[in-house]
Amino acid sequence: MQLSATSELAASGLERHISMDVAALAEDFETLVRLYRPKVFRFALASLRDVDAAETVTQDCFLRAYQARERFRQDCSMHTWLMQIAVNLIRDHIRNRRFQFWRRARLTAKPVDVAGHALADRAQSPEAQALIQERVAAIWTAAERLPEKQRTVFLLRFVEEMDLLEIAVVTGMKEGTVKTHLFRALRAVRERIGETA
């Protein structure tokens, strides 16, 4: 598989810019950070729900990518490779956090609150906005309660819009296992939406 960016990057004309050999990648690491940092941060934030922790994971992710840039074999996309690093870091972070019982996540807002503002701009009726907020909140809660692996594949599929094969590479699972986790996650989420409806 060729080193290539996602369709979003292709659309922005940047794909060609990062479809380069590893040496060029090392030189242009800042471009790489600029392109992929929002995605890694978003996934880390959705997984950990802690801004500081997500920032730390994002920094560690690019630090490790920088240190391991010569070992990048180009057998998957740069995005997949970075997400693979991020998934491992997040898993480690969650395991460490189990022992940090005194630490409290510093969250100031949930996506539900932000969705409210975003939807207000679309001039929808207050009832429609409330309904959407309720559904987003239900999925957010359901995702929080999912087991770690199910949550990871759920977020990779439905927030990062990765396909099953990419998720399998990122998580190191078989495609069938990814599918099983996704089915279970979807069922839990759907049940949660049903409870709130």
Binding site: E55, N96, A115, I139, L186, R187
Partner: protein
């Protein structure tokens, strides 16, 4: 013909892997179609909300932590791992220190408490040795001499 979609069939459809039978059913069943659209919309709204939230958080974080951001731009300069380790281990170290301090009050050690008694015994032994007029091996003979006198 199937009655309505099961949870698994619905999930397969959402993941873009419906069987021909399921796809045909969705075409002809308004209830299942409505449920699918509603679920798909909800997932889309969730995606939009998380993305907006993430951008919002990132903007606010970077506005307040510009130094960290510039450090990321040059990864070689980042000295994160040790700091990360320290921040994780420091609370444990403090906790252990506090436990040790409390333990020192709860289980006090008084090494000098029995010292005077043992010192007195030792001094008596030394006095006894020093005050002997003959070595210990000669003591029985000395006793005989004393008895004769």
């Amino acid at each position: 013909m199937i009655a309505h979609l099961s949870a698994e069939q619905l999930s397969k459809y959402i993941l873009g892997q419906p069987s021909a039978l399921v796809a045909r059913h969705v075409q002809h069943c308004p209830a299942c179609r409505a449920e699918l659209i509603q679920f798909r919309d909800a997932l889309g709204e969730f995606r939009g909300a998380v993305r907006a939230w993430s951008e919002d958080r990132a903007d606010k974080y970077q506005a307040g932590n510009y130094q960290e951001d510039t450090a990321l731009a040059s990864p070689a300069a980042v000295s994160g791992p040790w700091l990360g380790w320290a921040s994780h281990q420091l609370p444990w170290a403090l906790l252990i220190a506090v436990v040790c301090i409390i333990a020192s009050f709860v289980f006090p050690r008084h090494p000098g408490e029995n010292a005077p008694a043992s010192d007195a015994v030792l001094l008596n032994q030394v006095d006894a040795q020093v005050s002997r007029t003959a070595p210990s091996s000669m003591e029985p003979l000395m006793r005989l001499v004393v008895e004769k006198q």
